[in-house]
């Protein structure tokens, strides 16, 4: 097992701790933002655990969890928590309906893809992020070393494709950009906007730093996911661990109560009165 394959174990542990922490806050404060964050974090943790498992053995339902929760849905649910803090009540409910309906539709599409999985390409020698999706090669493009290729018809043309667990044209893969755009806009955009508001008013420096960390953590996983889609899946697990740790620190900083003022007593010479 490579060092890269061990990283998801650490990410899983961090996300489990993070999820429990956020869920406890939801129990105490009953703010739906914490509930959506907890659901998103639980999805993130489930995805990390699935990665760790798939580094050891194959199981198609673990792959189901990895792709659906780890790759498709978690960013959107995390971002939806941020939306609950920033948007008007009416819009929050409308978007919640869309998010739940979209998530159920993605689950249906993933279920439909399960019988079509090309499981013969699976190996524990490579991280799952490097073997999950088939990719059609452009003209002149060379397949990565040791990649298995296949000639097939795709969108009416004969193409050479790198084989992957999810075959070319699997519908569920089309849903991930929609969820990830929404997740990026709300989670990163929301954190940047919040940091800017505090920064502009010159108040709550801890909230400024906390939101910068949350945005940076979300961008770490967003960038690593994009690199994965471009064929550089080896950075995904590191990106996840950096994301989990950075967002957790940011969340703890934001949640930490800060007194408006502290009284400092100092002894001064009487002549100075």
């Amino acid at each position: 097992m490579s060092l890269n394959s061990i990283l998801p174990f650490f990410s899983t542990a961090v996300m489990a701790w993070f999820t429990v922490d956020v869920f406890k806050r939801y129990i105490v404060r009953r703010n739906p933002a914490f509930l959506f964050w907890a659901i998103g974090l639980a999805m993130f943790g489930a995805g990390s655990f699935a990665e760790a498992y798939l580094a050891l053995a194959w199981n198609k339902w673990v792959f189901f969890v990895w792709y659906l929760f780890g790759a498709a849905l978690n960013a959107a649910w995390l971002g939806h928590g941020t939306l609950y803090l920033l948007a008007r009540k009416k819009w929050r409910h409308v978007v919640t309906v869309f998010l739940v309906a979209g998530s159920l539709f993605a689950t249906y599409l993933m279920q439909q893809a399960m019988p079509k999985l090309d499981t013969t390409v699976f190996t524990t020698d490579k991280p799952i992020s490097e073997q999950y999706g088939a990719k059609a090669l452009d003209e002149g493009e060379v397949a990565p070393v040791a990649a298995q290729t296949i000639s097939t018809t795709y969108r009416g043309a004969e193409v050479t494709a790198v084989r992957g667990l999810l075959p070319l044209g699997t519908s569920v893969r089309l849903t991930t950009p929609f969820f990830n755009i929404y997740g990026l806009l709300t989670l990163v955009g929301g954190a940047i906007y919040s940091a800017y508001l505090f920064w502009r008013k010159r108040v709550m420096p801890n909230r400024v730093v906390a939101n910068v960390l949350i945005a940076a953590g979300a961008l770490a996983i967003g960038s690593a996911s994009t690199l994965t889609r471009l064929g550089y899946g080896q950075f995904l697990y590191l990106g996840e661990l950096i994301s989990a740790v950075t967002m957790f620190i940011g969340f703890r900083m934001a949640a930490k109560p800060q007194p408006d003022e502290v009284v400092v007593s100092s002894a001064v010479p009487a002549s100075a009165d």
Binding site: L174, I181, G189, P205, A216, S223, A267
Partner: protein, 52 residues
């Protein structure tokens, strides 16, 4: 000697701080640009400009 009560604000940004005056705004702008880039990439996947 007499005791003076000094109110020191902890909920305001320190003045003349390089971190808050320079690093934070540059970080926010940079992250905004990266976010925009990632969103454009995801949109190009949806539009079929980037193949998968």
């Amino acid at each position: 000697m007499a005791t003076q009560i000094d109110m020191k604000s902890k909920s305001h940004m320190p003045k003349d701080s390089l971190f808050f005056e320079k690093i934070v705004p540059i970080s926010l702008i940079t992250m905004g640009i990266i976010t925009l880039g990632l969103i454009l990439f995801a949109a190009s996947v949806i539009l079929g400009i980037v193949h998968f």
